[in-house]
Amino acid sequence: MMEEKPIATATNSDADPHPVFEARGVTKVYDMGEVQVHALRGVDLELHAGELVVMLGPSGSGKSTLLNILGGLDTATDGYVGYLGSDLTDAGQRELTEYRRHHVGFVFQFYNLIPSLTARENVAIVTEISSDPMDPADALALVELSDRLDHFPAQLSGGEQQRVAIARAIAKNPQVLLCDEPTGALDSSTGVIVLEAIDRVNRELGTTTAVITHNVTIGDMADRVIKMGDGRVTEVITNQTKKRPKDMSW
């Protein structure tokens, strides 16, 4: 997993015959009235079990579109997307919902907690519908919020809210954790705490994790950094040594 790969592709099939995600020639075209926007222009990519990948790129580079397609929120216009061997390309609404429900954990830039539910309940709402969940309290302990179980979002700081969101994402024991700008709304020191939580989940639970960011520093905590620009993978960097988030700052 630590070898260099040529630029413009992020596949690694030689080393791993069973990648978690496999994308081949994925394109995405949005029809914006008279203009067609090419968000992805042929992306090849693999994500491997247990790895932590950071996708870097400026806005408009296509990284969010790619994450949405991997997360089953959107479908590719062309190309192939496989998840553990099953084809996501032609999946319908219903299958995608099932897929998200049981396999994917999401962390959003703005947390998207349910304001009417406490921290514990925000986690429970997901565990209630999954097949093999953790106890919500355990999930919150993992992000060090055991003393905030019965607080409502309005009573939590931004960093705490984001950690609740991480607990919610991992409590169902997903195969993959997808984080879209998880520190985007946070200051540096709070952001580090949140990244610590993500890093810990990745290490302790072995959940395949993809973090989207435009913050280059965060790339230091990844196994691999996939740089994107103009709808293409422009560079893939495999880190020989990963930094712990607590050693980073920006």
Binding site: G71, L73, R94, T97, N112, S116, L117, V126, I129, A154
Partner: protein, 770 residues
């Protein structure tokens, strides 16, 4: 959403304009018709007075014009019509037109002077039988058969609403008004140089009671049975009642609708200000003033309101015209002045504007005074807390989505209460509409099935010996007969008085039974009167008190009679006693006024034929026919109203539920989309949103029932008249229909909102803050 609010406003304005403009049109037309055709103001009937008495009447201070007439009852034999028909013959002067109560000739001409076989008939009667000038009628006038020729068809201000004597329901087939030359009519009834009916108008500003007292004094010697004013004149009285009902409708409905609209506007504008915080901030940062921001929202509200008012006025005029025409067919005005008075529109606009601005002023103020820096920041996450239900320890039974529903309702309790009240008004309106049809059916069942059970009621021209019943019973097809005696009377207690009929009934009868207020069949007391409670209230007597009874026929005795008890009567106000007691009071033998008959259904035509040939028979009325007439005449307008109730209630519940749902969707769209991303199915997310609506709707139904009850009781109380008193009965059907319509509109709304929910853009919520 704006459309839904405008819809509710439209309903409010439409009902207001409809009922108010119809009311204006009817009262305007009525007044004009009365004035133009010189409708009298004081009326009196008497036995017989010489024409010279006119001068004494004219001499009474305040009397303007006096017009004397000969008025008499007759029965008609119409070819190919199986039943006997009652007629009222009214004289017209031999020379020239009557001075008062002029005729509006619809067709043909007036009678030729001195022709004894020409008549003008009233047009409702003519329509019912298809009479045209030139048709001929057989008549029994004072016991003599005569052939009459119809020369004209006319309407009179005196008989806009026409009822046969003693009847409560208009019947255009079996009762007609015939105008005939004075001389031939006087000859037939031995009234040459005399009159038995007088009408007069007054000098403006005269006290009508004083004139009535004077007229009574003059006519007492000639068998006058008491003059009465226009207010008590039958046709006018009925019209006034109808107009009073319309007036009530012109108030209750608009108030409900505009209240609901104000509430909806409040909710929507509040939400709008919330979502447009940033735009407000930007505008303010660019230097827009509070007034400019405020007036933007006021303009918006005004636009919605104006849309509602314009549509409401247009719809109101359309409906109003239709309603006025419906009434017109019923009242038989010769013409209808339907024009929309500007003040109706101005009032509608003013009231709607008041409702709209009262509903939104707080939200607009909030928008206008929002400091720009604060407005730039997104609103902090909404703060919630555990609901009461959960604090009671019931929380563990709830799933997280259920908790979301409960806590969201608990966060905006006032809004939830208003929504519940709004929907419950819709439910109450439905209940009210259903109440009327239910009450009407119930009333008819009690009056015409439990109390009255005869097949035919035969009345004689004048009181007759009891032996008449035997000859009737011998008629083929008649199964059995029960006699009755009816006498017109004044009932008096102190200065309270009421003119009605005392009906003497044979005890133990099966065809005409009296019911007590518990609706149990009661035996008549040996002595004393049974009266409806409403009559007791009018005369200020209760059982045990006594009434002074002045009989208005025969030797006209005045007696003191005890009120023995109450009896239930929904239509009309009569007094009842045992026939032998009444005979005794009248100092007569075993006289009867008529007979209730039970008839073999197969022989009914033969019985009618036989009765037609009996000169002593003044009229025959059929119970089933009365029921049909009731539904045809009174029922129709009521059902039109009931239909409006349903349409409007559905509109209200739809508007409220839809608005609530749309607001909830806009407030919680992000939350629900997040859940969808987390793997919630469409149906699971729909549960959270629609569950809230379901709770509101289900709470609103019992509240609506209670509200409907209160409204119906209020209406029943305020519509208690001498003609009709609705019993307060709420059927299970009424409840179930009302609840069903509310639930159906909730479900329909649910489907519409669900479609929007399913189209939520999942990706956009990832990238935006609220």
């Amino acid at each position: 959403m704006a459309l839904a609010i405008a819809l509710v406003m439209t309903c409010g304005v439409a009902t207001f304009v409809m009922s108010k403009s119809t009311l204006d049109a009817l009262t305007g037309t009525l007044e004009e018709f009365y004035a133009e055709y010189r409708f009298a103001e004081v009326f009196a009937t008497l036995k017989r007075a010489p024409e010279a008495t006119t001068e004494r009447l004219e001499a009474i201070e305040g009397v303007d014009v006096v017009d004397t007439r000969v008025v008499a009852a007759a029965s008609l034999d119409i070819e190919d019509y199986r039943e006997a028909v009652q007629a009222l013959l009214i004289s017209v002067p031999d020379e020239g037109a009557p001075q008062l109560n002029l005729l509006f000739m619809v067709e043909g001409r007036n009678v030729d002077p001195y022709r004894d076989d020409e008549v003008v008939v009233n047009d409702a009667f003519a329509d019912a039988h298809g009479f045209v000038p030139g048709d001929r009628l057989g008549a029994v006038i004072n016991g003599r058969r005569k052939q009459l020729t119809i020369v004209g068809v006319a309407r009179s201000p005196e008989y806009i609403y026409q009822l046969a004597p003693g009847s409560l329901i208009p019947d255009f087939e079996r009762f007609g008004i015939l105008w005939m030359g004075r001389s031939p009519l006087a000859t037939a009834f031995d009234m040459q140089g005399a009159f038995n009916d007088v009408t007069m108008t007054l000098v403006p500003g005269t006290r009508v009671d004083d004139v009535i007292d004077e007229v009574d004094l003059v006519l007492e010697a000639f068998g006058g049975i008491g003059a009465f004013e226009r207010e008590d004149q039958q046709s006018h009285f009925y019209i006034s009642q109808e107009l009073a009902e319309l007036e009530q409708m012109a108030t209750i409905f608009p108030v409900i609708f505009l209240g609901v609209a104000a509430f909806l506007l409040n909710v929507v504008v509040n939400r709008l200000v919330q979502t447009q915080r940033e735009q407000i901030a930007v505008l303010k940062a660019f230097g827009y003033s509070n007034v400019q921001i405020g007036s933007h929202y006021i303009l918006l509200v005004s636009a919605i309101m104006l849309l509602g008012v314009v549509a409401g006025v247009a719809l109101g005029i359309r409906f109003g015209f239709g309603l006025a025409e419906l009434y017109m067919a019923f009242f038989r005005f010769p013409y209808l002045n339907y024009e929309l008075n500007a003040d109706v529109v101005v009032t509608a606009l003013f009231v709607s504007a008041a409702a709209a601005f009262l509903g939104t002023i707080a939200a607009v103020r909030r928008a206008a005074t929002l400091p720009p820096a604060e407005a730039m920041r997104p609103e902090p996450p909404a703060s919630y807390r555990e609901s009461i239900v959960e604090r009671l320890g019931l929380g563990r039974f709830f799933s997280q989505p259920t908790r979301m529903i409960i806590r969201h309702l608990g966060r905006h309790p006032v809004k939830a209460v208003f929504a519940v009240v709004g929907i419950s008004f819709a439910c109450a309106l439905l209940l009210m509409g259903q109440f009327f049809t239910g009450a009407m059916d119930y009333m008819m069942e009690i009056q015409f099935e439990m109390a009255q059970r005869d097949d035919l009621m035969v009345t004689f021209v004048e009181p007759t010996s009891r032996r008449a019943v035997y000859s009737l019973e011998e008629t083929r097809g008649v199964l059995h007969g029960e006699v009755f005696r009816a006498a017109p009377v004044w009932l008096r207690n102190g200065n309270k008085e009421y003119r009605t009929l005392i009906q003497g009934v044979a005890p133990g009868g099966d065809l005409f039974r009296l019911l007590n207020t518990q609706l149990e069949v009661v035996d008549l007391p040996a002595d004393g009167l049974l009266i409806p409670p409403h009559l007791g209230a009018l005369l200020n007597v209760v059982p045990g008190d006594t009434l002074s009874v002045e009989v208005l026929e025969g030797r006209r005795p005045v007696r003191v009679v005890p009120v023995a008890g109450y009896m239930e009567q929904y239509l009309g106000l009569g007094a009842y006693m045992r026939i032998d007691a009444l005979n005794r009071m009248l100092k007569e033998g075993d006289a009867i006024s008529g007979v209730f008959l039970a008839v073999d259904g197969n022989e009914i035509d033969a019985v009618h034929e036989e009765l037609k040939g009996m000169p002593r028979v003044a009229g025959v009325s059929s119970r089933t026919q009365a029921i049909d007439d009731f539904y045809e005449n009174m029922g129709e307008t009521m059902l039109v109203f009931a239909f409006f109730y349903v349409v409007f209630a559905a509109a209200i519940s739809f508007a409220i539920i839809y608005n609530t749902a749309r607001i909830a969707l806009s407030e919680r769209g992000r939350e629900l989309a997040s859940l969808r991303i987390l793997g919630f199915k469409q149906s699971e997310v729909a549960y959270i949103l629609l569950g809230e609506l379901a709770v509101l709707t289900l709470l609103a139904i019992p509240v609506g029932f209670a509200l409907g009850w209160a409204l119906c009781i209020y209406i029943v109380e305020s519509l208690q008249t001498e003609i009709i008193r609705f019993p307060f009965v709420m059927t299970a059907r009424a409840y179930s229909i009302s609840a069903s319509v509310v639930i159906a509109s909730a479900i329909l709304t649910g489907f519409i909102v669900r479609r929007r929910l399913y189209r939520l853009n999942l990706i956009s919520v990832l990238k935006t803050r609220e």
